[in-house]
């Protein structure tokens, strides 16, 4: 898994590539939480390079999503591949995040 961080105005853009599976979920969650705690603006996670997501990956996003909700900030997802979008739709996670 590879994560690239980019500052876009007050928001942070995270470009994720690879598999969001059990081994990668913890480092992914740690990266997200680090951004949550060190910035004030919104976060956009670009998942264009992600071709696999499991329950652990979804859970990592939920943990970050809860923290952002608590801080009244926005966590958005972008550029999901169709098969990844299906997982988000089936699991209901697409109702928790703004997806573009």
């Amino acid at each position: 898994m590879h994560i690239e961080r980019e500052q876009v105005g007050s928001d942070v853009l995270l470009k994720v590539a690879g598999r969001l599976d059990t081994p990668n979920a913890k480092p992914f969650e740690a990266s997200l939480m680090e951004v949550v705690s060190t910035t004030d603006g919104g976060i956009v996670v670009n998942l264009a390079g992600v071709d696999y997501v499991s329950s652990s990956g979804l859970r990592a996003l939920l943990v970050a999503g809860k923290a952002m909700r608590g801080a009244k900030r926005k966590l958005a997802l972008a550029s999901l591949q169709p098969q990844i979008r299906e997982v988000f739709d089936i699991s209901g996670f697409s109702t928790l995040f703004e997806i573009s």
Partner: protein, 549 residues
């Protein structure tokens, strides 16, 4: 030929009668025995006494062991507490052997008549009567069978046959025959009752009877072990306790006879004396002696017995999962605390829900046996909590506490349904040789939702709000997936049907998750706070009443 027919008919009646009697006794006394056994935890001797009474009431040490196994798994008492009870159950079964030793011909005839009349008068329409009439019928048939066996050889030269038998039966052969007979009948009392009948028919002497009964006693222990080979964990541990009782009884009585013989005394004369000169009574005394000699050391050294049983059959995942951690019968005295414990137990069940689903991600999909054990254990705990709440409600409580108890019951019912739905879903997913992409997505999506519910259970209301949103209605999406699935020729027909079934189970599970999150959300928490205040008020009122009194 008539003699053979009478003996065979007697055996048939004996076996059928004992089976009918045991079945109806268990139905008639099962609930009372359970209540009795709940008080068996005070001391090893109390457990032994309760087990003896239970064995006497049920006339089956196996049935007592099964009840104990269920109570251990239900968390009513620990394996350690069950050991004296199982040991005592063996002692109780001696009751029937003593009854068989009495000359009962006239009693049997009256018993058959009484049972016949009660059936003719259709008293069996009342359930309470029906079971006891069944017990009477079983006992009458068994005793009638014994009567056939005893009087069957009346027309033959008994003395000559007894002489031939006595010359042909060595102690080792008698022991082996007893062992075999108990293995076939799965009981030590049935072959002993047969021995009693053979002694009454003057076909057997006390010396041969001794070795037969000894063999039967040991054989029944091993028969239980073989018949319970499908069991594991706690259930099997109590079977080993059974074997320990039988082995200890045989060793101690056998050693006592050997020591007495070496000291110049005649142990058989002593046994004959113990029976008051009646050989049948001596056999009954011997049977009782074997059970007591086995039961007492096992009950008193229950720590050692437990260690041996644990070593031979370690607890399974199911045993561990089936043990309630919070609810306790004594907590019923204080409804507020009891409700709190029931809630904690329910939350623990919610935290275990993700373990019911396969983790398809990565190399480890998890052990199907572990999931099965967790599901069975969790179902057992849910049932125990349900009974706990029902008992609590039956004992009476303040109105607010009652409202919370009913709310808990409703929540628990939903949790139980979700447990079963997740298990069914897992079975479908595990049924695929290669899980198709849709199956994978459904499974991982459901796992993510259930993991989130487990995290949110007992947490803040905001977390539950997220679950309520997450588990919103998705019937439109799933219907679209089903239509696509039906239109496409994905894999075999069986796979398509299974996937369709998986979508239904998924939808049901998500709906149940939402119901649970809603139930956990506000009303319960508010009610809990109100009940806490109400409980304090009640307590103050009781204290004030007590003070005034």
């Amino acid at each position: 030929m008539t003699v053979l027919a009478e003996i065979l008919a007697g055996l048939g009646l004996l076996f059928v009668g004992l089976r009918i009697m045991a079945t109806h006794l268990q139905q008639a006394t099962g609930r009372k025995v359970r209540r009795l056994l709940r008080g068996a935890t005070r001391s090893p001797l109390a457990g032994l006494a309760c087990g003896t009474l239970a064995g006497l009431a049920m006339q089956s040490s196996n049935a007592v062991a099964v009840v104990c196994g269920n109570l251990v798994r239900g968390g009513v008492f620990a394996t350690r507490d069950a050991i004296p009870v199982v040991a005592g159950g063996n002692v109780g079964t001696a009751g029937l052997v003593f009854i068989a030793a009495i000359d009962f011909r006239l009693v049997v005839l009256y018993l058959v008549a009484a049972v016949g009349f009660t059936f003719h008068l259709r008293l069996d329409r009342r359930s309470a009567w029906r079971e006891w009439m069944g017990v009477g019928l079983g006992l009458a048939l068994a005793l009638l069978g014994l009567d056939f066996i005893k009087h069957g050889p009346a027309d033959i030269d008994v003395e000559a046959l007894a002489g031939t038998l006595s010359a042909g039966i060595t102690p080792l052969l008698a022991f082996g025959l007893g062992f075999l007979a108990s293995a076939v009948t799965q009981s030590s009392s049935t072959p002993t009752i047969l021995v009693v009948a053979l002694i009454q028919a003057r076909l057997l002497g006390l010396h041969d009877a001794f070795f037969l009964v000894l063999g039967a006693n040991l054989g029944s222990g091993f028969a239980v072990l073989i018949s319970s080979s499908g069991l594991a964990g706690t259930g099997r541990q109590l079977c080993y306790v059974h074997v320990l009782v039988k082995v200890a009884g045989c060793l101690l009585v056998g050693a006592a006879f050997a020591v007495l013989g070496a000291a110049g005394a005649d142990p058989f004369a002593l046994l004959a004396g113990a029976g008051g000169g009646t050989p049948t009574a001596s056999v009954s005394v011997l049977f009782l002696l074997l059970q007591v000699a086995g039961a007492l050391p096992v009950a008193l050294l229950r720590g050692t017995a437990e260690a041996i049983a644990m070593r031979l059959s370690p607890p399974t995942v199911e045993d561990d999962a089936a043990r309630p951690r919070f609810i306790d019968a004594q907590a019923r005295q204080d409804p507020a605390t009891a409700l709190d414990l029931a809630e904690r137990e329910t939350l623990r069940l919610l935290h275990q829900l993700p373990l019911l689903l396969p983790d398809l991600d990565g190399a480890e999909a998890g052990d199907a046996q572990v999931r099965l054990g967790t599901w069975r254990g969790g179902a057992s705990v849910a049932l125990a909590v349900d009974h706990f709440l029902a008992d609590l409600i039956a004992h009476g409580m303040p109105r607010e506490s009652l409202r919370i108890a009913l709310h808990h019951q409703s929540l628990l019912e939903t949790v139980r349904t979700l447990q079963d739905t997740l298990h069914d879903f897992t079975e479908v997913i595990e049924g695929f040789e290669d899980v198709p992409p849709l199956g994978f997505n459904l499974s991982e999506a459901l796992r993510a939702i259930v993991l989130s519910l487990a995290d949110a259970a007992g947490a803040e209301a905001a977390d539950l709000d997220i679950i309520i949103t997450l588990a919103g209605d998705r019937s439109e999406l799933l219907n679209r997936i089903r239509r696509q699935l039906a239109a496409s020729a994905l894999g075999s027909d069986v796979d398509t049907r299974q996937l369709l079934f998986a979508t239904s189970l998924f939808e049901r599970a998500v709906w149940l998750v939402r119901r649970i999150a809603v139930a956990l959300r506000t009303p319960d928490n508010e009610a809990k706070r109100e009940a806490s205040v109400a409980a304090d008020t009640d307590l103050k009122r009781v204290e004030a009443d007590a003070h005034r009194a």
